[in-house]
Symmetry: C2
Subunit: 423 residues, 2 copies
């Protein structure tokens, strides 16, 4: 990590770091919960104590980003202050308070021949996280991985390189001070894209790769990685207002799902309205949305209202992450399901209905990570659902689906105990 | 599938089949357990009823394989007779008797704000299985996938093409007769390797790819696939005889693990012996192994005995699947663990010991899918562990690890129910 960018051999550096992470992970896997929680609290205290150094490093990153003409919204995500740093520390303390997933017996039985069988949660081993500007991910991911017994390789964005280096230095010292190997938390060089590629090809060295960021990053990691990937976060979330919906409730949920926070993956991007209530509901919802600054991209029914922009298939497929919403009227629930099947990213879909049968049909037929009945898509969130810290929201079907907390960062092994049993 | 090999467009054909599988999977996902079990029993009955047609097709495959000079062991795996066909049918009936994993509530709670949260098992969707000569996999995989609510694309070996086509024709007719879409079971053209490549690149069309076969097949699928893969089966399994082992028991377990069946992934391939018992145990075990026809590839301590071949690192790393065993003496349990970490494929490792502390240390430190205490590695098997049918033994850490039964062929989704809840 000290070589100039031109001479940085990403594959060799990642292999070397992953090797140290593997060795460190063996100790961490055997660490007691008490020792891990001590380390997490020490990390939190150290972050607060190192506030000046971290904020100075961050100010350098922010200045460089501004000088490079980076978008203000990206610069804002990059920027730390005392309160954001305190929130990072608090996040680490919250993780310490959560139960330890390692060692949990998931199932167990005694077989007919007397063999005792237990399926026990164990760490994944070495986890790599590739992420974009927000430096809080550095502390969050380190904390979640440490608590779940995993060594972590953190590959943040180059725009946050100084901040991430300062944060990781602080965390490593705290981990070592708590009696665990510092190499359970390592920062991967971000000066070249090569290090992302090297992580993607580090099969056997890295057990799992978690990309966190925009759709482009996630797609490139998912398609190019030979290391198993957990795909996170792209959300083209739908709200479907059924014929029997309580329309006041429906309006409140649509407004909340679309406008409470627009830049997040669980915000609604698409609205579907049953034809039977279109005449009443469409004008109300268009007015409310436009009043909140939302541009509605609508089908012909919606587009008949002032200010509604005609929607294309691209609109129906888009994750806007902005004050935009695609909207369509559907003849029935089955058509709503078909629309969701065609355009959804499989993140979160909500139905508003007072009809129990409709709710059952929608829940059964919609195959998304989270299906909500009479609730806003904004509830798809680890903290909201009571899981505590979350490393992302999985939209794939393998391993973990929906908000991923500590148990999702583990594997299991079977332990079989006998008295010299043979077949 | 009717075009000549030269004009077969694998990507288009796989996309078309996967599309039909997807549509069929929507119906299958909503099918009741009763309907699925009826279909499984109808499939079993139909296989037995179609014995003549299936065995005739198989005889053609066997004749072609023999003519092509195929190894006798491979031809044997390819060959069906009335009894093997009856076992395939019985396997389908066994799957019908197993509980339905779909709909199981994995966890659930009511949140502080009154939202009801349930995590429910759902099918994966469209599963592709790529496998080698054994035609029984065709019926096994179809049965397991159907019961777990998944449409399956079966890509067997070209040497079994006629047999697989006959079996799949029978199964599809039985599925349709039971009121489910025939397209939940489809055979993928095996005349060209291109169809494997097309399945590997069918991201978004195929949800999960399961390779079943030799190490070469598995490696190529794992490294080239953009579809999520569940890696199965390579087993370099170790048996470690601790200083405190009951040596009679240890001898019985070693002999069972190595010789009861050699061609399977849960057979032992490596023996480690604690130095304190080497003088007593090594000559006994060498004599017994050699008496059973086993070639021992040993370290210098073992190689001092007649007939023991000096072992290389390659021997320690190998999955022999034959009457061969690598063997070494280790100074202590930690050295045994280090040897396992270096050479194991992460499948199954056993310790023989009477020392509770040693058992605890070995179980905690060895990170394999199954760790056995005083029991043969041959118990790593879905049927032996009471899971019923198994689609393979996963040696990866993501999603499923160890023998994969019906629950491992599912994902989950969260269902969140409220009364118009907003954030």
């Amino acid at each position: 990590m000290v070589a100039a960018a031109g001479t940085y051999d990403a594959a060799a550096a990642v292999a070397e770091q992953a090797g140290r992470a593997r060795t460190a992970s063996w100790d961490l896997a055997l660490a007691t919960r008490a020792r891990k929680d001590d380390a997490l609290r020490a990390m939190a205290d150290a972050l607060v104590a190192a506030q000046d150094a971290v904020l100075t490093a961050n100010a350098d990153d922010v200045a460089a980003a501004e000088e490079a003409g980076t978008e203000p919204s990206v610069v804002d995500r990059l920027r730390l202050d005392a309160s954001r740093l305190a929130a990072m520390a608090e996040g680490l303390r919250d993780v310490a308070d959560l139960p330890d997933p390692v060692g949990e017996v998931v199932r167990g039985s005694t077989l007919a021949n007397g063999l005792e069988l237990r399926q026990v949660r164990v760490p994944l081993g070495v986890v790599a996280v590739v992420y974009e500007a927000r430096p809080n991910v550095t502390a969050d991911a380190a904390g979640i991985c440490l608590k779940s017994g995993n060594a972590v390789l953190l590959r943040g964005s180059s725009s946050a390189a100084r901040t991430n280096a300062a944060v990781v230095d602080v965390l490593r010292a705290a981990v070592a001070g708590a009696g665990l190997p510092a190499d359970v938390v390592q920062l991967v060089d971000s000066r070249s894209r090569d290090s992302v590629g090297a992580l993607m090809r580090a099969r056997g060295l890295v057990d799992v790769l978690v990309p966190r960021g925009g759709a482009g990053l996630i797609r490139s990691v998912v398609e190019g990685s030979t290391v198993p990937v957990i795909e996170t976060g792209v959300g083209n979330c739908h709200v479907y207002v059924d014929a029997s919906a309580d329309l006041d409730q429906a309006l409140a949920v649509v407004m909340n799902a679309k406008t409470q926070r627009t830049s997040v993956c669980n915000a609604a991007e698409s609205l579907l309205v049953h034809a039977d209530v279109a005449e009443t509901f469409v004008p109300r919802v268009v007015e409310a949305l436009q009043g909140a600054g939302v541009t509605v991209h609508g089908d012909p029914v919606f587009a008949a209202y002032d200010g509604v922009v005609p929607a294309t298939d691209d609109d129906h497929a888009r994750e806007y992450l902005s004050l935009d919403l695609s909207a369509a009227v559907v003849p029935d629930l089955e058509a709503a399901v078909a629309h969701v099947r065609r355009f959804s990213s499989g993140h979160s879909e909500a139905i508003l209905t007072r009809d129990q049968g409709a709710a059952r049909r929608f829940v059964a037929a919609v195959d998304s990570a989270v299906v909500l009945v009479n609730a806003s898509t904004r509830f798809t969130d680890g903290a909201e659902l009571g899981f505590g810290a979350e490393i992302g929201i999985s939209t794939q079907k393998l391993h973990a689906r929906g908000p991923m907390g500590l148990p999702e960062m583990t594997s299991t092994k079977y332990v079989v105990t006998g008295d010299g049993h043979v077949r």
